[in-house]
């Protein structure tokens, strides 16, 4: 057994962990700019993490082992998920063959832990957050599954690395299915990362928050771990979109120059996508909670359309 898949996994993992906070900050920066504010410096995400890691953790006196284990488990699960989604280097082999359903359920695992964490401290906000998060996740799930099935359908495989390999063989922007798929995936990113119009990541108002509600009782290094996992999750979903739609630059063979180039290119593409996310976030108002399922229907429609267009061609 060769060691290249191992190195590829490590490189991808390290890269994702390193750049994820940046993308979060880029979105914030764009939103601030749209509101005529200066916005945080680009490295603010890293400063925040460093600060939080240095702070003490406060546990509620009702908290069980869930509160203690969930932050670590959450990041660990996302690290494994990262191994399934090659960001800059497509390895020859990935754990669980890079199965997209495994990836989906690893994400579900983190959400599950987070929802339990929200209930653990016995606060009303936490319960509200986890109730809403789980409800939305249930409604988005059929769409997610169908979008992933469409990706599998288009590429003819269930393995994410193979999908990306297939994507490199088609000319970017020329395939209508890829474009349709991109729309669905973009909506998925918005939902899964809790952005406007589904959730507002910046609010602490009880009426609007979902994701933040569950984290209200988390502090210090635990909060840092959650913020990092959230950022990693966003990067992974972005990588899914980017590498399906515009995969050029991603390397399949070992080469130092190629690797650096791929990293730079992904940084560029990721930043562009983050800017787009920021623009979308600042140009929409948050939807009423019970209106959100309509948005999911839209994504569902687009993914169903993708299958149709693929069948017709």
């Amino acid at each position: 057994m060769s060691l290249t898949p191992f190195f590829a996994g490590l490189v991808n993992l390290g890269f994702v962990l390193l750049i994820s906070p940046l993308f979060m900050t880029v979105v914030k920066k764009v939103k601030a700019r749209a509101q005529r504010r200066a916005g945080p410096p680009l490295l603010q995400g890293y400063y925040n993490l460093a600060k939080l890691f240095r702070k003490e953790v406060v546990y509620s006196d009702y908290a069980s082992f869930i509160s203690r284990i969930a932050p670590y488990a959450s990041l660990a699960i996302l690290m494994v998920a990262t191994l399934l989604v090659p960001v800059i280097w497509i390895p020859d082999a990935a754990p669980a063959e890079g199965n997209i359903i495994v990836f989906l359920y690893l994400l579900a695992f983190t959400r599950f832990l987070l929802a339990l964490l929200g209930l653990d401290a016995g606060s009303t906000f936490g319960g509200m957050g986890s109730s809403r998060e789980m409800s939305l996740s249930a409604v988005i799930e059929p769409t997610t599954v169908v979008v992933f099935a469409v990706m599998a359908y288009v590429a003819g495989t269930l393995s994410i690395p193979e999908m990306f390999r297939h994507a490199t063989t088609i000319i970017p922007g020329m395939s209508p299915t890829a474009l349709l798929l991109a729309v669905s995936l973009f909506i998925l990113i918005i939902v899964e990362t809790g952005r406007v119009p589904v959730d507002n990541p910046e609010t602490h108002l009880e009426l609007t928050m979902i994701h933040e509600g569950m984290l209200l009782d988390t502090s210090g290094r635990n909060l840092a771990l959650f913020e990092l996992s959230h950022a990693v999750k966003q990067t992974l979903l972005m990588a899914l979109l980017i590498n399906m739609l515009i995969p050029f630059g991603i390397i399949q063979e070992v080469s130092i120059v190629g690797l650096v180039l791929a990293a730079l290119l992904f940084l560029l593409k990721g930043t562009a996508l983050s800017v787009l996310l920021g623009i979308v976030e600042s140009s929409f108002a948050k939807m009423r909670f019970f209106r959100v399922p309509n948005l999911f229907m839209l994504a569902f429609f687009f993914s169903a359309l993708t299958i149709l267009s693929e069948v017709m061609i």
Binding site: L75, P95, S123, T124, S130, S135, V145, G220
Partner: protein
């Protein structure tokens, strides 16, 4: 290998006789010990069949030459009997302490003696190789389980549940009976039919009757209504067996039916698939709304029946359209999920029983904060919850993954019309998975986390060790079967159907280790315990926590057309202008759709028929003699006319 099952059945029968001679805790312990031995024998026998398939070993006895009872075992049987063995061992560890903490006098001995009979009947149903033997043991199973539900008969609700169950299970037997007669008419023998065609009328009738009988027993919606009544009413070891194993015997028969009895037929597959989708989605939706912990688990069993049905239906559809290898994947998924479901549902029911005994209530809204008070029970329940929510790398995930793979690869290779069907099935399947997670976040979160909501929950104590050992066996089973799923399938001769979850679990452990080590090394280690932040409110109480109905309110609202809630409120005012509300009531009711539109009309019909018929009966002998006379005359006339 079939010989090894004989001592198992033997031990079951001895165990059931023990309470005749002994009473009290000694009887329960002896009984459990013997059952445990039987369980171990079953596991060994099934494992040897699974690993070294020799084939063709049958054991036949006949009551009369006409009605042959032939027992046999193949790997499909063995997959289910091994589950039965494991469940038996777990229940044996659990039940002595459970029974001794139960109320009731001699009925507890009866419980102890009926469980082995029930287990033996299920084992024999699985081993049956003739339709006659199957019907016989099926009926023994039905009757013994009816009495098991009825054990705590003092409660009015239990009695109602038991009789409802009896009616439904007899209906199921009637269907199976008719199906067997139909098969007998078509083939002229009581041996299992092979490759009957659905295109012929007898074949079609036999299939539909088999399916109906099985559907009633397996809790397929809309024939499910007995299940959420009967399972919570039974004591926990019994509900664990009923949910974990009895539903599976019905599903096993379905698998037998579609893999051997009948040739795969597209429309039959679509029928099973449609029922599967409806059952899965509605089952989990009803589970979500349930506030009774065991009721929730019962509904979730319906949902899992649906999932297994989806796998089975998919197998039939794909085989009928000659995608055999994907079909095999779906079938593997169905079997794997059936076995997994037995394991984790047994685990959940047993631990829910512990919670029930420790607190005296099953209402989720009266529990809470139990993880601190009953850490082991809570931990075991947590493993069950992870497994049932299909989170990797546990066993629930492996089964669903197989079905997902079959759905998606089936989607890739089918023709357009079939694709539409598969996309619908896929999205409903995804919805089921996600709603299951919601449901069990609620079940675990509200029962075990945060603050206790009542005094009873506050004073809960951990249960005795043996009551933990039983569920622990199942929990270990859930974890191992999940982690080694691809290896297990490999050993059984199906390599490459599942991705390697062992690697995933190793990576998860590694990543967790690295994260902990890194945080421990580089980050601050200070920790402080303080009260929960409540917006400046000091000392939050349990009244401020989310309740079960609050937790699921968004889902209920989003899926309002499915739930058909009725909101009714009335207000009284201080002033005639209706500005100042004095008092009022508001009520949200869930309409019991199937009860109101399916069960009650049928029941009313039977009632009115009964009333009409009862008019004929006036209790006088003369009248009855007249009836007999008239009947004979009519018969003679008809016979004469026919001749």
């Amino acid at each position: 290998m079939i010989d090894l099952f004989i001592p198992a059945v033997f031990f079951f029968l001895i165990a059931s006789a023990i309470p005749v001679y002994l009473t009290g805790i000694r009887a329960w312990q002896c009984c459990s010990l013997l059952q445990g031995l039987a369980g171990v024998f079953t596991v060994l026998a099934s494992a040897s069949v699974l690993l070294r398939y020799t084939g063709g070993e049958l054991l036949s006895t006949s009551l009369t030459p006409l009605f042959p009872v032939i027992l046999g075992v193949d790997r499909l049987t063995a997959a289910f009997t091994i589950l039965l063995g494991i469940l038996t061992v777990a229940v044996c560890c659990y039940s002595p302490d459970y029974i001794s903490r139960m109320h009731g006098g001699r009925s507890r001995d009866l419980l102890c003696s009926l469980i082995p009979i029930f287990l033996a009947a299920m084992l024999l149903v699985l081993l049956s190789r003739t339709t006659f033997a199957f019907l016989l043991f099926w009926e023994v199973m039905a009757i013994s389980s009816f009495f098991l539900v009825l054990i705590e008969y003092e409660d009015e609700k239990t009695r109602r549940a038991a009789f409802f169950y009896l009616a439904m299970t007899q209906l199921s037997t009637v269907c199976i009976f008719l199906a067997i007669i139909q098969v007998y008419l078509a083939t002229g023998s009581f041996s299992f039919p092979a490759g009957m065609l659905l295109s012929t009328l007898p074949g079609l009738l036999a299939f539909l009757l088999f399916f109906l009988g099985i559907a009633i027993k397996a809790g397929v919606i809309p024939f499910h209504k007995w299940l959420p009544y009967a399972h919570p009413a039974a004591s926990s070891p019994v509900s664990a067996l009923m949910s974990g194993m009895m539903l599976n015997t019905a599903l096993y028969m379905l698998l037998r039916t579609v893999t051997g009895f009948f040739t795969p037929d597209l429309s039959a597959g679509l029928l099973i698939l449609a029922f599967g989708c409806i059952t899965a989605v509605l089952g989990v939706m009803y589970a979500l709304k349930e506030d009774d912990l065991k009721g929730l688990l019962a509904y979730s069993s319906i949902d899992n029946t649906g999932v297994i049905l989806i796998g089975t239906g998919l197998f039939v559809v794909l085989t009928a359209t000659s995608h055999t290898s994907i079909g095999t994947m779906a079938l593997l998924g169905a079997v794997f999920h059936a076995v997994s479901h037995g394991l984790f549902k047994g685990l959940l029911f047993l631990t829910a029983g512990s919670v029930n005994q420790a607190t005296g209530t099953r209402n989720i809204d009266e529990l809470g904060g139990l993880l601190v008070r009953m850490p082991w029970t809570g931990g075991l329940f947590f493993i069950g919850v992870l497994a049932i929510s299909a989170l990797p790398p546990l066993n629930g995930f492996a089964g669903e993954l197989l079905i997902y793979q079959a759905l998606i690869t089936g989607l890739m290779q089918s023709e357009p019309l079939m694709q539409v069907v598969l996309v619908i099935a896929l999205s409903l399947f995804g919805l089921t998975g996600a709603l299951t997670a919601v449901c069990f976040v609620k079940a675990f979160g509200l029962t075990f986390l945060a603050l206790p909501r009542t005094q009873a929950a506050k004073q809960a104590r951990e249960v005795p060790t043996l009551m933990l050992a039983g569920p622990a066996i199942l929990a270990v089973g859930c974890i191992l079967v999940g982690i080694f799923s691809s290896q297990i399938l490999g050993v059984l001769g199906y390599p490459g159907y599942l991705p390697d979850l062992l690697l995933i679990s190793l990576l998860l452990t590694g990543a967790l280790g690295i994260t902990c080590a890194a945080v421990y090394t580089f980050a601050s280690r200070e920790t402080r315990i303080s009260i929960t932040w409540g917006c400046g409110m000091q000392d939050p109480t349990s009244r401020m926590e989310y309740t079960g109905s609050g937790f699921t309110e968004p889902v209920v609202r989003i899926f309002a057309p499915v739930y058909r809630t009725r909101i009714s409120f009335s207000k009284e005012y201080h002033d005639p202008e209706r500005c100042f509300v004095r008092t009022g009531t508001a009520k949200i009711e869930l309409m019991k759709f199937f009860e109101e539109y399916l069960y009650l009309p049928v029941a009313r019909l039977i009632d009115s028929y009964g009333e009409t018929v009862s008019k004929l009966q006036n209790g006088k002998v003369d009248t009855y003699v007249l009836y007999v006379f008239v009947t004979i005359v009519v018969l003679i006339v008809i016979m004469g006319w026919l001749a």
